[in-house]
Symmetry: C2
Subunit: 385 residues, 2 copies
């Protein structure tokens, strides 16, 4: 049984109406972004119980509301955002309407589900390791992970601050672009140089690559990384993220001993047990990855890659299958995270009767140009739902 | 609904009784090993329909029968042995009694299922890429992949001859050892040098490694392979195996256009489309892997590694989760295959309420010594079922 994607729904008139380019759009807000007067629960009942209502609304939410979007509700999410699949052991799993026997993806599960179900027109989530991009791919939505630091982080519950960004979901490119234009500055990519690195495409099952290849533009297939690097992306992410996760939540976990669902507990334990030596090694490796990817992209490079290893996993998938899927997903998803780059996922394809996204990663700050490119060069090819 | 693991059951008295060390043991024979007077169906109805009854019994079966084992029946298997999970699209899936909601593993699915259910005491299978070792791990059995070429291959339907071996299942080490002693010469490993290579152990989920580590002896954790090699094990196997698979079955597939289940069709298509250049590169890489692993082992090295990435996948797992699981499994399983080495899997552990095997790989020809080592040094630690 799936749950209502909303933690709380707000009737029209709850908040003062703005007027502007987003008038008429209903906005679903992930419950790790502050809304004044409401507790920011972050997907965990123990965390929520220990919080006071927020006194300020997160600026990123406020900017959308000021441009006319109506805040329709706060949405469910994975526990403290430290998961990717949308199955919350405390609250349940929001529906993936595009594939009801599969997970919606997380951690921004409720915002993705609400938009995919048509209960909202815009969803706001947060993305540390893929928490906007993966649910967008799973639910058949457009998703935007902005350049790190481009949008204000105030009022957003941190998970791992050097990776965390707020991000958006929409059902169509035009709506996403309209909302993004309220948040981010204009940019351009006059002559994009497409890269479809063979090493990234080799990471996904052949059926996934075959499903997405028809949407590829002419592109340079040279490997993105030197041999041996791609295997480090996931462990470097796990450690560099884990160090910040432990800084964010370690004290509370030690004091409150909260219950966590399967996998989440193990990840927190792992994060809190990292050694200084492995953290230092991972941070150095991350800096090298970041510099390398930014250097390869330059000012005009656009990486085209699968958003996810395949269709969303079926509900209840666990153990080695899920961990294997998750680790492959993180290899793909951590590239933009490590390098702080914008990524747009486009709901172009279907596999196993479920959606599958194709992504663009662009140079820092090119968010709006990348989105326009996605809308113009790729959206026409989108498969009917 | 699971199926009877037997294609055909033979009542006592069907075959002349031998007498010897295996007297009283019921033997389940995979249906790709000839039994005189019966069609060798190899898991595909179209293949079976085009065959005459075998006129000779495969020597490896005959040797066990001559030592007193009673041939209890022929068992179901994956289509033409070109799969690893035990879900046959034509005939169905034999029960994994140790985890009824999970696959039994394949391709020797029926022999593993029959032994695990207590319908036979010994199972004979074949193993090209893991078809004995993986179902043994999944069903909680002892499993033996012999040194390549040690046992007679006559009367065994080839899949990829340079990898194919017959192999055995039993519920306990003593029975396995008793049967293996009928087939293989005595050998010894007086002072085994244990290797638990960190690169192999890093391939499995942390929960799998943590579950198996308590059973590890003191061992050298140095990586088995130079950086970048481990990622090649699965593609090299896919190509080098595929080339031989196409030689074995390509002509029949082109002529008869048989139906295959999901995944199997794609694997045959891939095998039949390999280029001479990629085959040559894979065969050269395989030769280098084989020489390297044999050189690291010398005459006394024993690699201790997880048999599988984790518990058996749940029934019906498909898509990227299954392919990811499969590819990780093949990385682990292809090491003995590439190098032609014996591997024993021991049902020592449990994870997610299902069995999980730990394996030993030894130098060529040390099969009985390796099995004795497994029985003496490891079996005492076996977890209760």
């Amino acid at each position: 049984m799936s749950i209502d994607p909303f933690v709380a729904r707000f009737p029209a008139g709850t908040f003062p109406d703005g007027a502007g380019p987003l008038s008429g759009l209903r906005l679903a807000v992930k419950d790790n972004l502050d809304i004044a007067g409401h507790v920011t629960g972050s997907g965990h009942p123990g965390w929520a119980a220990a919080r006071q209502a927020a006194t300020q609304t997160a600026p990123v939410v406020g900017m959308l509301a000021a441009a006319g979007a109506r805040i329709a509700g706060k949405t469910h999410m994975d526990e403290l955002a430290y998961s990717l699949m949308g199955e919350n052991a405390h609250y349940g799993t929001p529906l993936n309407p595009a594939a009801p026997d599969r997970v919606p993806g997380g951690s921004s599960s409720g915002s993705a589900s609400a938009v995919a179900q048509g209960l909202a027109d815009l969803g706001i989530g947060t993305d540390t390791g893929g928490s906007v991009r993966l649910p967008a791919s799973f639910c058949g939505l457009w998703g935007w992970r902005p350049t790190h630091g481009l949008l204000p982080a105030a009022g957003m519950q941190p998970l791992a601050a050097s990776y965390d960004v707020p991000g958006l979901f929409a059902r169509d490119a035009a709506t996403l672009l309209r909302a993004a234009a309220v948040l981010a500055p204009a940019s351009d990519l006059p002559a994009p140089r497409y890269l479809a690195p063979a090493d990234l495409w080799a990471e996904v099952p052949a059926a996934t690559a075959a499903t997405l290849r028809p949407f590829l533009p002419a592109a340079d297939a040279a490997p993105l990384f030197p041999s041996g690097t791609i295997e480090t992306l996931q462990p470097v992410f796990r450690i560099a993220q884990g160090k910040e996760v432990a800084e964010t939540f370690g004290a509370w976990i030690r004091a409150a001993a909260p219950e966590f669902g399967p996998g989440v507990r193990e990840r927190f334990d792992g994060a809190m047990a990292l050694s200084a030596a492995e953290i230092a090694a991972a941070e150095a490796a991350r800096a090298a990855i970041r510099a390398h990817v930014r250097s390869v992209l330059g000012r005009d490079g656009v990486i085209v890659l699968p958003t996810a290893p395949g269709a969303a996993p079926r509900l209840g998938t666990a153990g080695a299958e899920m961990e294997c899927y998750r680790n492959t997903a993180i290899r793909l998803l951590s590239i933009a995270g490590h390098a702080g780059l914008p990524q747009i996922t486009m709901p172009l394809a279907r596999i196993e009767e479920a959606p599958l996204g194709l992504s663009l990663i662009g140079p820092p700050g090119t968010d709006l140009a990348l989105m326009a490119l996605a809308a113009e060069a790729f959206a026409a090819a989108a498969a009917p739902a």
